[in-house]
């Protein structure tokens, strides 16, 4: 079981590494789906089948699909890939890698020195039932409030997306300085 956990984890890590290094968006998204599926397996191994399911359904199923839609809408072609390749070359990796490495090392040190975990031996997995009880028991307020979170996201996304069709973007002044009149026009329409 521990082997499988590590295996799944390794898959997830490799897939994620592929995600952030791909030049083509679609490839990256596919690797992302792989990573998410691997993670779902990790969840399941950890005894969280409900979370694993949600991971597959919501993350891989909904969110990633949303990304794919957008990629399709934007129609990013091969010139974009070339550009991505050029962006990813050279010294651009150095500083971020160092920072990431620093973060990784420190966090891993923290993990190693963590207090001995209070492991509940042989416990049953925390299934949907337990989660449901928790959600609609002690966390009922949280659930209610998260609906407002979603509402805020909804309204925001709706509002931002709403104007795409219209010609609501004011042209830029050649020198990049906004002219007040333009703004007025853009607004008053």
């Amino acid at each position: 079981m521990s082997i499988s956990l590590l295996l799944y984890g390794l898959v997830a890590i490799c897939a994620t590494a592929m995600v952030i290094t791909r030049t083509a968006a679609v490839h990256a998204l596919l690797y992302m789906v792989v990573a998410l599926l691997a993670l779902a397996c990790v969840f399941d191994t950890l005894g969280a089948p409900f979370a694993a399911l949600l991971e597959v359904i919501v993350y891989a199923g909904a969110i990633m699909v949303l990304f794919v839609f957008v990629v399709m809408m934007l129609n990013i072609g091969s010139p974009a890939e070339q550009r991505e390749k050029s962006w990813l070359s050279g010294g651009i990796w150095v500083v971020p890698s160092l920072l990431a490495l620093g973060l990784l090392v420190t966090l891993l040190i923290g993990l190693r020195s963590g207090a001995v975990p209070a492991i509940v031996q042989g416990a049953a997995p925390i299934g949907p039932r337990e989660v449901g009880l928790a959600l609609y028991g002690p966390y009922i307020l949280t659930v209610e409030l998260s609906s407002f979170l979603l509402l805020a996201g909804l309204v925001s996304a709706f509002h931002i997306g709403r104007r795409i069709g219209g010609a609501g973007i004011a042209p830029l002044h050649p020198d990049g300085v906004h002219v007040g009149v333009n703004e007025h026009r853009g607004v008053d329409r």
Partner: protein, 485 residues
């Protein structure tokens, strides 16, 4: 679990209100009607804060604290929201009937997020409040459809906010892994020798908080966002979100002994120093008034952190007072900009304002002096209060930095006043036409007048506010009712 939780009245009212607002939009779009509705909701939520009773739900986790600190900061958040609401009205950006209604809805939601945060005593409620606010802010920041800047600002904020939220969550997760509790900072209570993992978690949490507070070096987004978005939203970013977050931060650390130098305290000290110096230096270099205010805002967060780091008889009271002073002055400035010269984003646009709009210029000067901490404005007493707190906690080095920072800040505050007094130089920037000057609508005028009068009156007679503040906050806010984790 036979635990129980309070549900702050304001949260309830704001939730219900936002639903009503949404329904109203769905039924019939009318900006004026929706705006009034939003204002009513905000006022109602303000009114219920003062109500002595609070809803108590049994069988739930304790998510909210019903204490004075929560009421005070919630009231501050709602009052800020009301001010933002008032200055938004007749804003040229929002006068578009097709989208204006959502603006007020988002404002209500943002207020909800702020209020939730300010009374949160649990990681979950804090996270939810934070994200309600963030999501509402994405929409609000991007609200200036007419300009690409708004989109860019929203994008930057979104990516970085996501990053910092992830950090925050990682931090929560690590502390949870270490302590098994999602209550605010149970680790300190449970584990006597501070475990490394938990303290790392706290540091990650701090990253998330500092990002939202825009403390150096997590501040870089603020200036861009303020510049990119519309003025009322800038006020929201600079004031409302910070009040909520600072309130939560105070509560999050209320059980840590801030006297003892640990990694977290060291980090906060370092960040406070950097913010006071960096924010002011940043503001000095700016020519854009909103970016300048961003720098100023960063610096003020630094000052607040000094109060935060000075446990003692004055700590929270001084922070509370400072929050109010900062909110009054900053909101006042944004209200004036919004009312008088919504497009006057460059400092040089404000030349000769004392001749063109003497009252507004005077009010602006009062606000700037308050931010600079010069009597007889309330900012002076606030700074005095903070320095008193710092002195009583022997934070001498921090205070020296505070003074250095304040001295730098004088430069840019005064420069703006100076620009308003001086006539426009004939040679420079002659090619650029001045943005038009408008007359603020009566509500905004009343708002400006109220804030200006409050700035001076509270500066001269701070006694009452201090008194009530001290009564409210005599004891530091507890992490919550004494329920077992």
């Amino acid at each position: 679990m036979d635990s129980f939780s309070f549900l702050p009245n304001a949260v309830l009212v704001l939730c219900a209100g936002s639903l009503v607002q949404m329904a109203a939009i769905a039924i019939r779009r009318n900006v004026a009607q929706d705006a009034v509705l939003g204002l009513v909701v905000l006022l109602a939520s303000l009114a219920v804060i003062l109500a002595p009773t609070a809803l108590v739900l049994t069988g739930t986790l304790p998510l909210f604290a019903p204490d004075a600190w929560a009421s005070y900061t919630a009231a501050l958040v709602i009052l800020s929201a009301i001010a933002i609401h008032i200055m938004s009205w007749r804003n040229s950006v929002l006068s578009d009937t097709s989208v204006g209604s959502e603006y007020y809805l988002l404002l209500t939601l943002a207020t909800l997020g702020g209020v939730v945060m300010s009374s949160a005593i649990h990681d979950v409620s804090f996270f939810i409040g934070l994200e309600i606010l963030s999501l509402a802010m994405f929409g609000l920041i991007a609200f200036r459809n007419a300009r690409i800047d708004a989109g860019e600002a929203a994008m930057k904020y979104l990516v970085l906010s996501g990053l910092s939220s992830a950090m925050l969550l990682m931090g929560f997760a690590l502390t949870f892994a270490e302590t098994g509790s999602l209550r605010f900072l149970a680790p300190v209570a449970t584990n006597a020798p501070e475990p490394l993992l938990a303290s790392m978690g706290v540091i990650l949490v701090l990253t998330g908080m500092f990002f939202k507070l825009s403390a150096v070096p997590f501040h870089l987004w603020l200036a861009d966002v303020l510049e990119g978005t519309s003025i009322p939203v800038a006020a929201l970013v600079a004031v409302l979100s910070k009040i909520g977050l600072f309130a939560a931060m105070v509560r999050y650390f209320s059980s840590i002994n801030l006297y003892v130098s640990g990694p977290q305290v060291d980090e906060i000290v370092a960040v406070a120093v950097l913010s006071m110096i960096g924010g002011n230096l940043l503001a000095v270099a700016q020519t854009n008034i909103k970016r300048m205010l961003a720098g100023s805002s960063i610096a003020h967060i630094g000052y607040l952190l000094v109060a935060f780091l000075s446990p003692g008889p004055f700590s929270f009271a001084s922070a509370a007072f400072y929050l109010a002073a900062y909110a009054i002055a900053t909101l006042g400035i944004f209200a004036i900009i919004a009312g008088v010269m919504p497009q006057g984003s460059y400092i040089s646009d404000w030349y000769g304002m004392f001749r063109r709009k003497p009252v507004a210029a005077f009010a602006m000067s009062v606000m700037l002096l308050s931010l600079a901490g010069i009597p007889p404005s309330v900012g002076f007493f606030a700074k005095f209060y903070i320095v008193a707190a710092g002195i009583s906690a022997h934070r001498v080095i921090l205070l020296l930095v505070l003074i250095a920072g304040s001295t730098i800040s004088l430069f840019y505050y005064l420069r703006l006043i100076l620009v308003m007094i001086l006539p426009r130089p004939s040679d420079s920037e002659a090619h650029r036409q001045m943005p038009p000057i408008t007359t603020p609508w009566v509500g905004n005028r009343a708002l400006i007048a109220l804030l200006a009068v409050a700035t001076i009156l509270l500066g001269v007679f701070p006694s009452r506010l201090v008194q009530s503040g001290r009564q409210l906050l005599d004891v530091p806010p507890p992490p919550g009712p004494s329920a077992s984790p």
